[in-house]
Amino acid sequence: MDFKLKVWRQADAQTKGRMVNLDAKDISPDSSFLEMLDVVNEGLIRSGGDPIAFDHDCREGICGMCGAVVNGYAHGHQKGTTLCQLHMRSFRNGSAISIEPWRSRAFPVICDLVVDRRAFDAIIAAGGFITVRAGSAPDGNALPVPKDKADGAMDAAACIGCGACVAACPNASAMLFVAAKVAHLAALPQGRPEQARRALAMVRAMEESGFGACTNHGECEAACPKEISVNHIALLNREFIAASAAAVPPRDEIGE
């Protein structure tokens, strides 16, 4: 298969970037989107050019490293998958494909399609953890968790932190990411001790990172490769309001 790519090229964080036209030729219909980029990059290297930089790791949809806005969709047009799980057979032969990095003030472009997602790390460091007794592994089922709670926590914990929610949001908001992390831990007894402070600290870290605010468009849920529901955002807001009303001390009290 052949494609006409329009790819965002940017040498480094300081340089201005632009969309560049590139041809992708003799691509196997069974190759993934990232494998297609690998083929294009081999051609670029052979001809003495710079390969397109992009993040990737597991290439099976579980690590959260890959991602780009393809033809206007975060992770491409296929629902519930990451970019590495998108196959070239789902594109029309000869068609034009636009490829852009996640765009958000909080995710500055490092090079080409690679963005700096350390803002997510800052949010996790602010409250996305639990207090545990370090040392030997605890006994299985030592803490009884009802099945529906465990399932609910797992639905939220499916978040791989790829940033597609931010990329797809018209406001570049990270609410779905924060909501998934808060909902995951709030559903379990292990998350209880920091429950109130967690919501406050993580929301504050999110705001300080320069993300937009949620206006409930629902684009995050539609773009999420793990199809995490926006219902978690309502839960996050409930946790946040309860914590604000209880006037618990914010971030400085936990972890730091």
Binding site: E100, R105, P170, N171, A172, G212, N216, E219, N231, L235
Partner: protein, 210 residues
């Protein structure tokens, strides 16, 4: 955003229900108007609460919009949406338009400054015939058109606003989550249709001056 919006929404529902008494004839609407005017300090308390809510709604809306515009300094060359709708994407501009409508609406039917000359005058007892001022006010097709358009916009704004409000204050439960969209549609449609019914009733001659 949500808290101030809920207060204004509550007022709109009561306001529309009260004004539907136009269909009950001049006595009913004028009695209702006199009752509201007779509330004295309570009337001013409600007006102050509404003005404060509107102010909070506007200030937070501006803050929210500016923050969200700044959050993506470089836009996408190509972006496609698959979940958001027209109502959600026009909140930022629909709000100011509704604000302008509210100002004109107050000048039209509350103070009478923009009302056709002579129709808003009080009688010898100093009482304004609210029924007549509303009906004659709507007999101007341009004014009626503005009301109809504004009520459509209010419906659109309420549809997204109500749904958004439930998310923002954490009103959700697996048992009734699927009703939340319907709740928003139902109330938005009720307010819009009830509001549109008044000028339409006058324009079609169903309701005539007393």
């Amino acid at each position: 955003m949500a808290a101030s919006g809920v207060i204004v929404f509550g007022f709109i529902v009561v306001h529309i229900l009260g004004n539907l008494q136009l269909f009950a004839g001049p006595e009913a609407l004028n009695r209702y108007a006199a009752f509201l005017q007779g509330l004295g300090p309570l009337k001013w308390a409600v007006r102050a609460l509404l003005a404060a809510s509107a102010a909070v709604h506007i200030v937070t809306a501006v803050q929210l919009t500016v923050q969200n515009w700044q959050a993506r300094p470089r836009r996408y060359a190509t972006i496609r949406y698959r979940a958001t709708d027209y109502a959600a994407r026009t909140m930022w501009i629909g709000g100011p338009i509704i604000g302008l409508f509210v100002i004109w609406h107050l000048l039209h039917l509350t103070t009478g400054h923009c009302h056709p000359a002579g129709q808003f005058a009080a009688d010898s007892n100093g009482i304004i015939n609210v029924y007549n001022s509303v009906v004659i006010g709507f007999m101007d097709p341009a004014a009626a058109a503005v009301y109809i358009l504004a009520m459509l916009l209010v419906g659109l704004h309420l549809y997204h606003g109500l749904w958004s409000m439930m998310q923002s204050i954490g009103l959700n439960h697996p048992g009734w989550n699927h009703w939340r969209r319907w709740f928003a549609v139902l109330f938005a449609a009720f307010v819009a249709l009830a509001g549109i019914s008044l000028p339409v009733a006058v324009l079609t001659g169903f309701v005539t001056p007393a």
